[in-house]
Symmetry: C2
Subunit: 119 residues, 2 copies
DNA sequence: GAAACCTTGACACATTCGTGGTAAGGTTGC
DNA sequence: GCAACCTTACCACGAATGTGTCAAGGTTTC
């Protein structure tokens, strides 16, 4: 599996070289380096870069949004604090939305329980 | 249970009136309104404002970060797309972190199953 | 050893976020 | 009816995000 240098990676992913460096700086896609320090993008990184672009286009999210999601994924304290804060709001009528998140997890448990008790 | 007007709410929460309006605009804390359109902050809103401030101080997150988390909570498509993108990265050695998120949900199911089968 | 790549670092610029102010006008309480 | 509040709508301004370009210098390839 061969790797692409930054300009090649830019060509096949639609990002500019400048942006590839910036994306790396945000911690979202970090290529490996050659002995001399050249960025080397493997198949996995290229795929991630493409899907990252899709994610942005489809939902209009910013890089810092995704970076925050990644931070939440890796920091349980943060994640639980945020979830707690959000769930406290689910009581209010206009925010039925927020409850969906919880309900989502809740339902997973219910489905799981249903499956187990049915057996 | 009486409600506070914006300046009173500002006084007891530490936010400025200006920021209370801004926070409302972000969709994070929306007070009810009096017939004349005055913002009325109840105990729940006041509490949410205080804990929001704590959340920011403790983890150095921005309002837009929390707003994005809230958006993810309410938009399953978005949430699952982001989670999928993040988990695709968990394979890479330096990102063991990200896997924790998934493992977290996984563990909840496992604990649930353990509790059920133990009974 | 020169052409064509790569690196980091900087300057620049538009856009958004966070925050304060101020102006023009409605509401409330005496 | 006036003082003290509230509203929305702006202008402003620093900090962060997103993006391009350019300079000074290392690497690779012929």
């Amino acid at each position: 599996m061969q790797s692409l240098t930054i300009n090649e990676a830019a060509a096949t992913t639609g990002w500019s070289p400048r942006m590839l460096r910036y994306v790396e700086q945000t911690g979202l896609v970090a290529p490996t380096r050659s002995p001399a320090g050249y960025r080397l993008y493997g198949a996995a990184e290229l795929q991630r870069l493409r899907t990252l672009k899709e994610l942005q286009a489809q939902f209009d999210v910013s890089l810092s949004d995704i970076a925050f999601a990644q931070r939440m994924a890796g920091d349980r304290d943060l994640r639980e604090s945020v979830q707690a804060w959000l769930s406290a709001q689910a009581r209010r009528p206009e925010d039925v939305q927020a409850e969906d998140w919880l309900r989502f997890e809740q339902e997973k448990h219910e489905r799981l329980l249903a499956a187990v008790t049915a057996a």
